[in-house]
Subunit: 308 residues, 2 copies
């Protein structure tokens, strides 16, 4: 029994915590979005890889949902003293991860090798793969600033501006990282985590062959809706879907994924959408999906892994 | 009345503290070695510029003589957890300086512009110039490892290996930073600080036109010997001089600098070398040079600035 999980950041990381409680690490492969990756202060930052690592290691800040518990901010205070760019918060402990990753990449190591080294150092034995080792960066077009990088939109602008277009720069010439296609082809179950379809899952799907590989396994692919009652649990998924002319609802999520997903897990508050989703040819599982307790998380994990 | 000081790191920084007490900031220009600069973890590090900045700002760690007081080491602990390169200690506060500098350099700012921004942020109003904005890096040849960078020699190997050759890579095509030649030409007094002649002052002199500019001002140039009683006060200056076939003494220092220095300040313990130095055509001032108290430091500062 094996499972491959297509991941964004926080929502995916929380589901992975549950999956790791109901399956063993050697059965689990997580494929992560790298469209959020960027360089700042000379450092290479991989926000989703780090959120997944820190969360599954039990080291993530519970308060913030990203970065590390027990963090200090001495470096950023100094950057602030110089009047430097401090809108992207880098904790001192977190900086150690960025220093290590940047150093290894500079030495010529691939992002997947470095990712494996990092999760091993955290005592994690599942497989975490960036979707690609090539450059792939999400940009969004806004009315007032034109096209800006995802982090400028998400962090600096606090995703408070309207987006008219999303673009994954580099995607067309990117190659899936070693193991990505193989794990999609070989897994007993494939899960699309409750992450932002527009800016977390779509960059993964934009890498050539990945969406085709998923479509070929459609009967084994289950997605968890990140939209509950018409709202994103976290972040701008609902607004982005509306701004791009989609329905910000579980039905919109089903439309988004229907070509590669045979089952959509939706929350009980959305039960009334069941028929609209089934009309799209997508099966529906209705259950609590807001991972507010370990019990709910584990039950969701069991269902998506086909253990329920 | 104006003074220009040719600087390495710790010894120069301490003398500058004294000079700033006996002169005003608008009279002082410090020209710093950048041969120790290097990149690690993707960050651009300027050890001598930082030591000078932190020391003159009164923020340097008194215990270590480099880096900042009140420092924490969370980032490096994390790098260590990953098995990363941790022989070059980067404190969390100090990292803020490297993040800021690297970011500005990436934006296309020159090292001298960034240096000015950094010292202003520390409330310092003297002029601190890197000798060049171009790449210039000191390498040493060792028996067991061949040619290694200065920081690998100085920090990783704790300068415990014999050196057969010193090379300043990039020097031949480097240009003095704006203000460097002008401040040497215009200063009333020029001081060569008590820094390592081989690996701190020589990289400065290796930039084309700098040693010629100093030689043209020889009558106004005073050096303070970094060798006291045949020993370097700090670091490997004495061993390096011996290893390169020079006399590790105040006489050796006078020989090293004679073409561009008219006066050498030596410590009282070296008074018996006076005649040998004068025989080289270099005047001698004998006085306490070990800056172990503010009084000694200020008296030394007054003498080298021609105020005594």
């Amino acid at each position: 029994m094996s499972v491959t999980v297509i991941c964004g950041g926080v929502g995916a990381a929380r589901l992975l915590v549950g999956i790791r409680r109901v399956m063993s690490d050697d059965q689990i492969t997580a494929i992560a979005n790298v469209g959020d990756d960027f360089r700042i202060h000379g450092l290479y930052i991989s926000p989703d890889l780090d959120t997944i690592t820190y969360t599954t290691a039990g080291a993530v800040s519970q308060e913030r949902g990203w970065g590390l518990e027990g963090e200090t901010w001495q470096a950023m205070e100094m950057v602030g003293r110089y009047g430097g760019v401090d809108w992207f918060g880098l904790g001192d402990r977190d900086l150690g991860t960025h220093l290590y990753r940047t150093h290894r990449l500079t030495q010529g190591a691939s992002l997947s090798s470095v990712t494996a080294e990092i999760i091993r150092a955290w005592g994690l034995n599942y497989t975490l793969l960036p979707v690609t080792n090539d450059q792939l960066q999400t940009f969004v077009t806004t009315q007032d600033e034109g096209e800006i990088s995802f982090q400028e939109y998400f962090v600096r602008r606090q995703h408070s501006v309207e987006v008219s277009k999303v673009r994954f720069v580099g995607a067309a010439s990117a190659t899936p990282a070693p193991g990505v296609l193989e794990s999609i082809e070989a897994a007993d179950r494939i899960v699309i985590a409750p992450s932002n379809p527009v800016v977390s899952i779509d960059p993964v799907l934009s890498v050539p062959s990945v969406s085709e590989a998923l479509a070929a396994r459609r009967q084994s692919v289950t997605a968890v809706s990140p939209i509950v009652g018409g709202k994103a649990l976290k972040g701008p998924a609902d607004r982005l879907m509306s701004e791009l002319g989609r329905d910000a609802s579980v039905v919109g999520v089903a439309e988004w994924y229907r070509h590669m997903v045979s089952t959509l897990v939706i929350d009980e508050v959305d039960a009334h959408h069941r028929q609209s989703i089934e009309a799209l040819g997508v099966d529906v599982i209705v259950m609590p999906t807001v991972m507010s307790s370990p019990q709910i998380t584990d039950r969701l994990a069991r269902v998506v892994c086909g253990l329920a």
